[in-house]
Each structure stands twice: as C-alpha cells, then as structure tokens.
C-alpha cells in the first residue's frame, strides 16, 4: 500500500495576546498558544487513521490543517504528493481539493437550513463545474436514504439521517480522503452504529481513506487501522488498535485506557488519574505529561522525549 497523506513536523501556534494597547498599559508580554507541535504521521491508502485525545489536545487543529482550512505555522501536509500550502499550479490545486472532503461533528450546524438536500449534496460538484445529472439521488441511495429525499429540507430529517446527508455531500466530488471530525459524537448509540457501519461499507466499496478524529476510545478501537494518541498538541504514541489497547507503552495512553469506563466493568473501582490537562499557553517543561505521570523522573522534567520506534509502535517517552 502506498502513503496517501504524509504529515511532517506539523506545528500550529495561535497568537492569543491581548490587544497591543492593553499590553503596553499592563506591561504584558505576547501570549502564544501552541495547539499542535511537531506532529508526524503517515496515512496509508484505503486505511483509517485515528487521532484521539482529550479536549485541547489539538486533534481538530490537525484535521483542519490537513484539509487546508488552517495554514500550518511550521511543517507541511502532503496529500498524494501535493502540498496545498506551497503548490502553485492551479490545476493541481483544483484536483487535490476535490480529493479531500470533511465531515463535521454537528449535523445540525453543518448544513444550510434553507437549502434543499439536493443542492447541499451537489455543492462540491457544482463548485468545480462537474456533471450533476442524477448524482444526488444516486448518493442518497448509497448512504441508505431514498432518492425522493433530494427535494426535502434538512429540518425534515433526524440527526442520524442528517449525518448520512453530510456523508453523501462528502462523497459527491469522489474524494480519496475524508477527514471526519467527531462524526458520531452527537448521535445516539444505535444511530452511531448505523453510521459507523455505513462508513465502513463505503470505505471498502469506494476505496476511501479516513482521517478519523474522536475522543471516544471504543469507537476508535472499532474503526481504526492505526491510532495516534495526542496530548497537549504532541503525538505521544502511535500503533495498531490491538497493540495500543492491549499493551499501551506511554503512561498517558495507559491512563486514558484504564480510566475509560468498561462495558463489563461491573462495580470496578478505578484509581482515578490525578490532575487535568495543563494550560497550553504555558505548557510544562520537558515531557508535557510529567506533572501527572506516576513514573516521571528528573529527565522528564527537563528534556522533551522524541517520538521513537519501539517494536511496531512509536512512543514519545524516556522510560518506555
């Protein structure tokens, strides 16, 4: 298999300083929030790569940089060998843009309520002057809705059905890569199962590649071929689902997995993890996890661990 997406040293820093007049009067320095720092990963073709992490870990920022909604501060994203941020050939840019689509978390906010479903689905094709004849109807049937639904408005559908429409819209331009940002978080379990199964079917039928962003470990374990765990904007561990869940190597991954509620954990008493995610404006020195880590040493406080190969995984920990 070949690599479809290649992310290299990706960093994003947001300027969160107060307005300059306040800075002058209150003598405040500039403040920067490092949302993503030195993230490196590859996504194979026709695979599902998942990014997991708690809120503030930078997973959505990475997703937005991959589709080109945000410009990276440093590093680059190559999709099929094309770096959208530096590419100058307009034809290549146009082609790569149709190759990438995105599905968002909230199916209520991601569709224009005054547009008919047909127009919503066809928009990415119309934008690139493609052939739209009968396309919306075909796509609706492909995602498990009826062809007649094309003339309805979004409010006539339930949350699960809306998410199917979003998937149909993402499929309209025949993309290679779909970035899914928490696509099932707003859905009920039984509807989530329907949507996950649909995404899985479409992946094998159309040869799609997913970059799947989620905070739900059970969903990620089910759907992924490879998982990257993020903490405070850094990739701390990467591996296959079985490796990661059966033998997590980074203390943060271990903590995340042991604190997630287990469906068969009747009366389980967990020793809850200490502390919370630190402030990303003022992250800890060295390894960002050291203030919460049960096995941290002096080296962890001073030196940032590099992501290194370990068996088939990659881990960023001095002690793994």
């Amino acid at each position: 298999m070949s690599t479809l997406v290649s992310v290299k040293n990706l960093s994003k820093v947001f300027d969160v300083s107060k307005p300059w007049l306040n800075r002058v009067i209150e003598r405040l320095p500039k403040a920067h929030l490092t949302a993503t720092s030195d993230v490196d990963f590859d996504v194979e073709e026709n695979a599902v790569y998942s990014l997991v992490g708690e809120s503030g870990s930078g997973k959505s920022t990475i997703g937005k940089m991959v589709v080109g909604l945000l410009q990276p501060t440093e590093g680059n994203v190559e999709i099929n060998g094309v770096d959208l941020a530096s590419e100058t050939d307009i034809e290549i840019i146009k082609q790569s843009r149709t190759d990438i689509q995105m599905i968002f978390q909230d199916p209520y906010a991601s569709m224009n309520p005054r547009w008919r479903v047909r127009d919503i689905i066809l928009e990415p094709v119309v934008a690139s002057n493609g052939d739209t004849e009968g396309l919306a109807e075909k796509l609706l049937e492909q995602v498990g809705l009826a062809a007649e639904d094309a003339t309805k408005f979004p409010h006539e559908f339930s949350g699960g059905q809306r998410q199917r429409i979003c998937i149909a819209r993402a499929l309209a331009s025949a993309p290679k890569l779909i970035v899914c940002d928490e696509p099932t978080s707003a859905l009920d379990v039984s509807v989530q199962a329907q949507v996950l199964n649909l995404m899985d079917d479409l992946k094998s039928e159309l040869g799609l590649t997913y970059l799947f962003i989620s905070h739900d470990l059970t969903v990620v374990r089910h759907i992924s071929d490879r998982i990257g765990v993020l903490y405070l904007g850094r990739l701390v561990e990467e591996g296959t689902p079985d490796q990661l869940f059966d033998a997590p190597k980074h203390p943060y991954t271990q903590m995340l997995i042991s604190s997630a509620p287990k469906i068969d954990g009747f009366g389980r008493e967990v020793d809850p993890p200490q502390g919370e995610i630190p402030d990303p404006i003022d992250p800890p020195s060295g390894c960002a996890f050291h203030p919460r880590c049960p096995i941290a040493t002096a080296k962890c406080k001073s030196e940032r661990p590099a992501l290194r190969e370990l068996d088939d995984n990659r881990v960023a920990c001095h002690l793994a």
Partner: protein, 326 residues
C-alpha cells in the same frame, strides 16, 4: 428489604400541544433504595430526563405530571405546593446537571453560592455555614478549599466546576441525588474522577442516586441496578450485571450490540434498523415493534405486559430467553 428512598408509581408526564396530548413518560415505576445507584439509560427522547425533572418538580408549562405518584421517604411529593416543593429541593433532593457552567451563577463567588444553599436549608449561623462550605469543597476533592471559596466559577476548570456543583448538591445532606448526565461534558480522565467521587459519597452517606446517562460503560461501572427506557416507557429494569450481560428486552440487546466496546474483534457493529418513533406517531402496540426483528402481530396490536421475572422485568411479549412463536 429496607424502605426505598424514592418510589415512583405509574408516573405519566404529558406534553400538551395544539394538536394532541403526548405522553413523554408513560406509566413508569421504579424504586431507589438507600445507598443504591440506579442508572437510567436510553437514547435522546426516551424520557429519562423528563422522569428526573418530574421528581424534583421542575416540569414547566407544556409538561405536567398527569398521573401516578412519587414518594420520597414515605411521603408523597408529587402533589406538594410550589413553596413546599421549593423547600424540599436542595434539602432532600440534590441535583447535578450536565453542564457545570450553566449550573453555577457566574457573578457570585462559589463560597457565597454554597453558603446561600446551606443557610436556606439548615439552621446555621453565617460563620458555621462558611465553615461547612469549606468542608463540603474539601470533601469533593478541591485542593486549597479555604482559598478557593472566594473564587468565581470561571476560575475553575470543567472538572473542578462539576465538583463544585456536586458539593452544592450535597451540602444540605439530601437523601437523594439526581445526576442528569453528570459526566457527558467532561473528558475521560476527569469523568473517572467524578464517577469515583459520586460512588464514594454514595457509599459513605447512604445517599440514593438516580444516574441518568446514555453511556453504557458508565452505567456498568457505577450503577447497582439499571432501568432502560424507550419512547417514554420502561423497557427493562434489573440488576446491572443481568441487564447488560443477559438482556431480556430486544431493545436492550440491540443497544448493547450497537456499543462499539461490546464489539471488540467483530467486523461490524450489530445495528438496530430505523430510529426511535416520534411521540406523536407512536405505534399502537409495543413502541419498539417496528424496529424489532422478533415482532409478531401480537406485538403490533397490543402493548406489552410487564413480565415479572425474578428481580427485574422486561416489557416484552417475548422476552429474549423464551422462544418466539406466532
């Protein structure tokens, strides 16, 4: 068996609309014993929060309790006057809502919010109430509580705020806590902290807890018994281990099959076709019959009976263990 703290009998909550009267909660009965955590699960629109709101008397306009009885420690509370109910809330029933930011007044220091609640319900002087507020914060695990009482809600993180809300719910030592999705807005590691806290307080004080959630994993780890709701009705109730590992109602079975955690090693999730019916268009017989793969003519025609089987029961004509005929 000891006398239950909360006892709900045939509760019906109605919504009056211009066109019809809809039943958001239909004939629901359950008990919660002292020190017990009852998990109430179901998908959105199943009526699980509505039942909780009926208990605390927070139903307002189109919603009303149309039938049934609610008993708290042997006293009937569904027909109390507004004023009596107001005094009961907080004193006897504590509430923890999903979003800790909207449950706290952003303009008042958290210490003052606690003192207000304590003085409202317990006969204490301001000094004593302040001391008590600090010990309540210490109990829920807020570091440097004596200093933090003077902070405003925005100075706390999400998990810490939810701890403050729990301290508020507990400060008048209620016998029942209604926790409506208390960890849904929180990250997993913080969720584990809050759940451990709820379990400890419940064990130490013998407080009964009604834990409303949609997360089967949280229920499995926290609850003693679980009630599964579907379209306003109770589908199944019983000890948590029995219900989750050996469900009697096809809906519970389908719900468990859809949970990714239960499908480790499987290619596909087992999905329930369709979605929950709208209250205005409930099927005639069993509400689950259009989505049920075992439904027969009988299920379509007649509402299911309450099949009593041991400690729990499932509202199904053919609970899963018996052979389906017809």
């Amino acid at each position: 068996m000891t006398e239950p703290i909360l006892s709900i009998r045939n509760l019906v909550v109605e919504i009056k609309t211009r066109h019809a009267i809809l039943k958001a909660v239909d004939c629901v009965s359950y008990d919660i014993a002292p020190g017990e955590i009852l998990g109430v699960v179901g998908e959105s629109g199943a009526g699980k929060s509505m039942a909780g709101n009926a208990v605390i008397g927070l139903l307002s306009k189109p919603f009303s309790v149309a039938d049934g009885e609610i008993w708290l420690k042997g006293r009937r509370i569904d027909n109390l006057s507004r004023e009596k109910m107001r005094r009961l809330r907080g004193k006897e029933i504590g509430v923890v809502f999903q979003d800790p930011l909207t449950s706290l007044n952003p303009l008042i220091r958290i210490g003052d919010q606690l003192v207000e609640t304590i003085m409202e319900h317990l006969k204490l002087s301001k000094k004593e109430a302040e001391r008590r507020a600090i010990s309540a914060l210490e109990e829920v695990g807020i570091p440097a509580a004596a200093k933090r009482v003077n902070s405003y809600p925005h100075e706390f993180s999400g998990g810490m705020r939810q701890r403050v809300v729990i301290a508020l719910a507990l400060c008048a030592e209620p016998s029942l806590i209604i926790a409506d999705e208390p960890t849904t807005a929180l990250d997993v590691s913080v969720q584990a902290q809050i759940i451990a806290l709820l379990k400890r307080l419940c064990r130490e004080r013998g407080t009964a807890v009604m834990l409303i959630t949609h997360d089967m994993g949280v229920v499995a780890e926290t609850a003693n018994r679980v009630a599964v709701m579907y379209a306003g009705r109770l589908a199944e109730i019983g000890p948590v281990r029995d219900v989750l590992t050996n469900p009697k109602h096809p809906y519970t079975d389908g719900l468990m099959g859809s949970t990714p955690a239960a499908a480790i090693g499987l290619e596909k999730l087992r999905q329930i076709p369709g979605s929950m019916p709208r209250l205005a268009r409930l099927p005639k017989g069993c509400a689950f019959s259009p989505r049920c793969n075992r439904a027969t003519d009988k299920c379509v025609q007649d509402p299911p009976p309450d099949l009593t089987a041991g400690e729990g029961y499932a509202a199904c004509w053919y609970s899963l263990k018996t052979e389906c005929t017809g």
